[in-house]
Amino acid sequence: MFVNRKFHLKSKHVFLIGTLLINLGILLVTIGGSWDITNHLLNKPETFVSLPHGVMYSGVALSLIGILVSFTGWRKTENNQSFKISLKISLIGISLLLGAGPIDFFWHSIFGLDGLLSPPHMTLIIGMILTSTGGMIGLIRYNILRTNNNFFSILIIICGLLPIWLASSGMISSLSLPFSNTDFFNFNPEPFTAVIIATIGYPFLISFFLITSYNLSQNRFGIISLLGGLFLIIYGSTAILPNFVMAETILFYSTNAIALLVTDYVVSRSNYKHASYIGAGILGSIFYMFYYPYIMYTYNELLLGRLVSPSSIYSIYFELILTVFFITIIPAVISALAGCYFSKQIHSKMIQF
C-alpha cells in the first residue's frame, strides 16, 4: 500500500516535470517570437534560418519532450482524469505548433518574407496558446492538489501563466500591428479596428493575468510584481535592448515596475473588499507604457500616419504618449476591470474543482 502510494506520488511528480517543460518550452517560443519581430524590423532577415527562429523551434522541441514526459507520468497516476483535460489541450496545441514549422518554411519558400499576421504565424500562436493553456491547467491543478510550499507555488504560478500571457499578447499584436503587408499579401488590420483591438486587448490581458496570479497565490503580496517584472524583463530584452538607438529608453520602461509594486500593494494590503478592481484599473491605465515600443505602430497608423523606421520608433512613441493615454484611459480601465472580473470567475471555478 505504502509502495503503491509512493509510486503514484512519483508519477505525479513526473507529470509535473513534464508540464513544467511544456510551459518552459512555450516560454522559449514566445521569447524567440518577440526577438524575431525585433530582428525582422532591424535586420530584415532573408532566410528562414535565424537565431530567433532557432530559439522558437528549440522551445517547440522542449514542449514536445514535456508532453511525452507528462503523458508517461499521467498514465501511471491515480485519479488521472483530473489531469486529462490538461494533456488533451496541450496535445492539440503541440500538434498545431509542429504543423506550423513546415507551413512556415513552405510559406517562406513560396512567398518570401511573411508578415506578422500570416497563416503559419496564426497556427503557431494558436498552438502556443493552447499548449500553454493545457500546461497551465495541469500546473494549477497540481498546485491545488498538493500542500503549499511558498517557493514551489510561486514557481508553478509563474510557469503556468507567463507563457500564456506572452502568447496571448502575441495574438493581440498580430491582430493590431501593421506588420503584415508583404509583396504577395496585405494582411494589415484596418487602423481603427486595430486601435480598438489594442485598447481593449492589452489592458484585459495585463489585468487578467496579474490578478489571476494574485488569486492563485492565495492573495500573496509580491506575485504581481514578480510576474509583471518577468514580463518586463522578457519584453525589454527582446524588443528594446537589441535596438541600439532605443537601448537607453530601458530606463523609461523600467518605471513600469513602480506601477506593478503599487498595484501589488493596493491589491494585497488594502482591506477594501474590491481592492482587486482598483488594482486592475491601475494596470489598465498603464497598458501603453507596458507594451512599449511596438504598440506605437498601431496608434501611429490612425493618429499620425508617420513613416516609422527602427531608429525613429521611440520618438514617435513619446510624441504620441499623452494623446494615447488620454483617449484610451476610459476604455482601457473598463477592459481591465472586465479582465479582473473574468479572472475571479475562472479562479472560483478552479477552486470548485
Binding site: N43, E46, T249, L307, S309, S311
Partner: protein, 185 residues
C-alpha cells in the same frame, strides 16, 4: 504614499522621460561612396571592373542602400557580373518597368524604372560602417557605356542622408553620380 508613488510613475512616464527623449538630437546618417573603374576606354568584347566602396560617415542609420544603374540596359544580363560584395543583404536585380521608391520617400512615392539597376543594402547601418561591391562589365554595344551610382540612408532625415547631393537626377528624382566608359571598335 501609494498615491505619491502612482503620481511619481505617471509623472516620469508621461512627462519627464518623454521630454528627455524628445529633446535628444535627431540622428543624421550620412552616406558616401568612392568608385574605381579599371579602364575608361575599352575595345568591344573586353571587360572592365567597377569597385564601389560605400560607407556611412554620419550617425547610426537603419538602412544603407547602394544603387547602381545602367541606363543603356533594359535588364541585367550576361553583360553585368557581380563579382563580390560584403553587404549583409543579397543584391536585388531590377529590370526596366519595375516599380521603385522615388524622391527619397522610403517607398511612399513610387515610379517605374526606366533601365536596369542593381540595389544592395546593409541593415542596420552603424556609424563608420563600410561595404564594397565589385562588378565586371562586358558591354555589347559600341559607344559610351554609362553607370549611375547613388547611396541613400534610411531614415532619410535630411539632404545629408543621400549621396551625391547634386548633379544629374535619375527617373526616381534622386541624384546620381555618372561614370562612363568608351567602348571602341
Amino acid at each position: 504614499m501609494i498615491l505619491g508613488l502612482l503620481g511619481l510613475y505617471f509623472s516620469l512616464s508621461l512627462v519627464v522621460f518623454p521630454s528627455i527623449y524628445l529633446s535628444k538630437e535627431e540622428l543624421k546618417p550620412q552616406p558616401f561612396f568612392d568608385v574605381q573603374i579599371s579602364s575608361n576606354s575599352i575595345k568591344i568584347g573586353q571587360s572592365f571592373d567597377i569597385h564601389i566602396f560605400s560607407q556611412n560617415i554620419g550617425d547610426y542609420g537603419d538602412i544603407h542602400i547602394l544603387s547602381v544603374g545602367f541606363p543603356s540596359l533594359e535588364k541585367i544580363d550576361e553583360q553585368i557580373k557581380i563579382q563580390n560584395y560584403d553587404f549583409n543583404h543579397q543584391y536585388k536585380i531590377i529590370n526596366k518597368d519595375t516599380m521603385l521608391g522615388a524622391e527619397y520617400s522610403a517607398g511612399i512615392k513610387k515610379t517605374a524604372s526606366e533601365y536596369a539597376l542593381i540595389e544592395i543594402m546593409n541593415r542596420p547601418s552603424p556609424a563608420k560602417g563600410h561595404y564594397t561591391l565589385d562588378l565586371s562589365v562586358t558591354p555589347k554595344n559600341l559607344g559610351i557605356f554609362e553607370i549611375y551610382v547613388k547611396t541613400i540612408e534610411i531614415p532619410h532625415t535630411s539632404d545629408l542622408a543621400h549621396f551625391p547631393r547634386q548633379g544629374l537626377q535619375d527617373p526616381q528624382n534622386e541624384y546620381v553620380a555618372v561614370y562612363s566608359v568608351m567602348v571602341n571598335p
